[in-house]
């Protein structure tokens, strides 16, 4: 078997006495579309934060193409190929749409500080290449006519789109989406469903997403991991998950409890 692009091994996170995530293991291949679901507070975002290096896991390992990422800086993990979006959109609000995308290309810029100040030939070459790349990406997301708008002035749905575009501008191998459909109406969610699939096919990357909208998850994901109280309780394809008694219990409560009520 080939090495999975992203793999977590027995990932555990404790905050003092609280076990937020316990023994979470998963694998995904080069172009997999995988979902992580679970009730509120189940530890999904904590898993994302451990993968992207914001938290250092108490135990366990995160591997990208077989190489461990634990203990690396957040910025370096992004440069190695893991990009993410956030549950509550974190755009650079007072910067333009174009600058948001350009910032994602920052680590690929090779000119130094002096070249920046003196605006040398190298500076102009690299800047114009960066701008071209950014505009190309914005065209794909149909945001190019808004590239001079401030990010905060975009409608909500477009802010979500811009955040995905910005994550893609770091040229990732794995894209992590944290509740991309949060706050969207059914129409926008339907568009997003198409968009996610299309991004995977177009960019040929692996996508891991956290989502509460079950219709989106079931439609988009090929495999789903279910966590509850920090524990992995089920794993499988959408139809397996839908019929898994443990999952139904986690979401709707156990049969006996219902009887008591």
């Amino acid at each position: 078997m080939t090495t999975p692009i992203l793999e977590t091994q027995a990932l555990t996170m404790r905050f003092g006495g609280l076990v937020a995530v316990n023994n979470f293991s998963m694998q995904m291949g080069d172009t997999d579309l995988v979902g992580v679901i679970g009730p509120n507070g189940a530890g999904k975002t904590t898993i994302f934060n451990m993968i992207t290096g914001i938290y250092e896991p108490t135990e366990g390992d995160v591997r990208l193409s077989g190489k461990s990422l634990v203990g690396e800086q957040v910025a370096l993990i992004t440069q190695k190929g893991i990009a993410r979006t956030f549950q509550n959109i974190r755009l650079f609000k007072d910067l333009t749409v174009l600058d948001n995308i350009r910032l994602a290309g920052h680590s690929r810029m090779k000119y130094g500080l002096i070249a920046n100040i003196l605006r040398t030939k190298k500076f102009h070459e690299e800047e114009s290449r960066l701008k071209e790349e950014a505009i190309k990406l914005l065209k794909i997301f149909k945001l190019e006519n808004k590239m001079d708008h401030l990010a905060k002035n975009l409608p909500y749905g477009e802010q979500r789109k811009l955040e995905i575009a910005r994550a893609l501008a770091t040229k990732p191998k794995v894209l992590l989406l944290d509740e991309p459909a949060a706050g969207m109406n059914p129409n926008e969610t339907a568009d997003l469903t198409k968009l996610i699939k299309w991004v995977r096919d177009e960019f040929q990357i692996a996508i891991l997403l956290i989502e509460h909208d079950m219709r989106l998850v079931m439609e988009v994901c090929e495999r789903i991991y279910v966590v509850d109280h920090g524990e992995l309780i089920a794993h499988g394809n959408p139809s397996e998950i839908q019929n898994n008694p443990k999952v139904i219990e986690a979401y709707l409560g156990a049969q006996s409890e219902e009887g008591e009520q």
Partner: protein
């Protein structure tokens, strides 16, 4: 030097101070209250060069150039020394740490007999003049403006906007915070050196915490994050107290009160400062005309 020329020269020095603090506070979003400290470091090292080391044979402007260079480098190094531990702190904590640094510098100088200690540092050669002060003003402004139009400047802005998001974009935020801090400190040191060679006399009490606050006021007045705002803020806050001095006896007596009331009014009507985060850009006017005609 006559009064007006002196005032103009001081305005130039405060423009450099305000623009450099704006890089740290306004553009990078790190709340520093130690700018007077870096100013003092630059002033005293620049002056020390002038008094102890400067070869007489060199023309004054070359000596001033070297003195400014030394002021810049030493202040930048002290910025690095303070920045690396302090920039791990955020918001109020960073403000308190940098405030402490400013006071430590002042007390240190107070106890250094080589530079006069509490008696003040005298006999500093008079090298500064309007031309060289405004030469450095232009350099500072062009430096900052060009920085912001490149990837390094954008990285610094992104820290103000959202540090976690900047990290997740592959930007080494700590590195860029330190960079902004070091450059800001360096230019404050340069302003210090120019100041020393204009005043010809330095006293540690001329670099109290109050000055850090006044420079901060300048950039808040002009609009945090705007270079144009920092310049306008520096001009207003250097000239306004002097103007009030000549507006009759009553005004002159109450000038500090009037000054404070004006600031309060501005904060009530325009809490984001005169310019907000915007820059005054002549090119924009031309562009608008083009759009209107097309």
């Amino acid at each position: 030097m006559d009064y007006l020329a002196h005032l103009t020269l001081n305005t130039g020095i405060f423009i450099i101070l305000a623009v450099s603090l704006n890089l740290i506070n306004g553009i990078c979003g790190q709340f520093s209250l130690g700018h007077a400290g870096f100013w003092a470091v630059g002033a005293y090292t620049g002056a020390a060069y002038g008094v102890f080391l400067a070869p007489e044979a060199l023309p004054d402007f070359i000596n001033l150039f070297i003195s400014c260079g030394i002021g810049f480098v030493v202040a930048a190094l002290s910025g690095l020394l303070i920045g690396v531990p302090c920039l791990r702190l955020r918001g109020d904590y960073l403000a308190i740490a940098t405030l402490g640094f400013g006071e430590i510098i002042r007390i240190l100088i107070m106890n250094m007999d080589v530079v006069g200690g509490p008696r003040g540092f005298t006999n500093i050669p008079n090298w500064s003049n309007l031309f060289w002060v405004y030469f450095w003003v232009v350099i500072t402004i062009v430096f900052c403006a060009n920085l912001l139009r490149g990837t390094h400047g954008r990285a610094i802005i992104s820290i103000r906007e959202d540090e976690i998001a900047a990290d997740s974009m592959g930007i080494y935020t700590f590195k860029y915070k330190t960079l902004a801090f070091v450059i800001g400190a360096g230019f404050a040191g340069l302003a210090g050196s120019l100041f020393a060679h204009a005043q010809q006399f330095l006293h540690p009490n001329g670099f109290t915490f109050m000055w850090s606050v006044i420079i901060l006021l300048m950039i808040i007045l002009g609009g945090l994050g705007s270079i144009t705002g920092a310049i306008v803020g520096a001009v207003i806050l250097t000239i306004l107290p002097e103007m009030l001095r000549f507006m009759g006896e009553t005004v002159s007596q109450w000038r500090m009160v009037i000054y404070s009331i004006l600031l309060i009014c501005l904060m009530l009507w325009r809490p984001s400062g005169i310019f907000g985060k915007h820059e005054f850009n002549i090119l924009k006017f031309f562009k608008k005309d083009e759009e209107a005609t097309s």
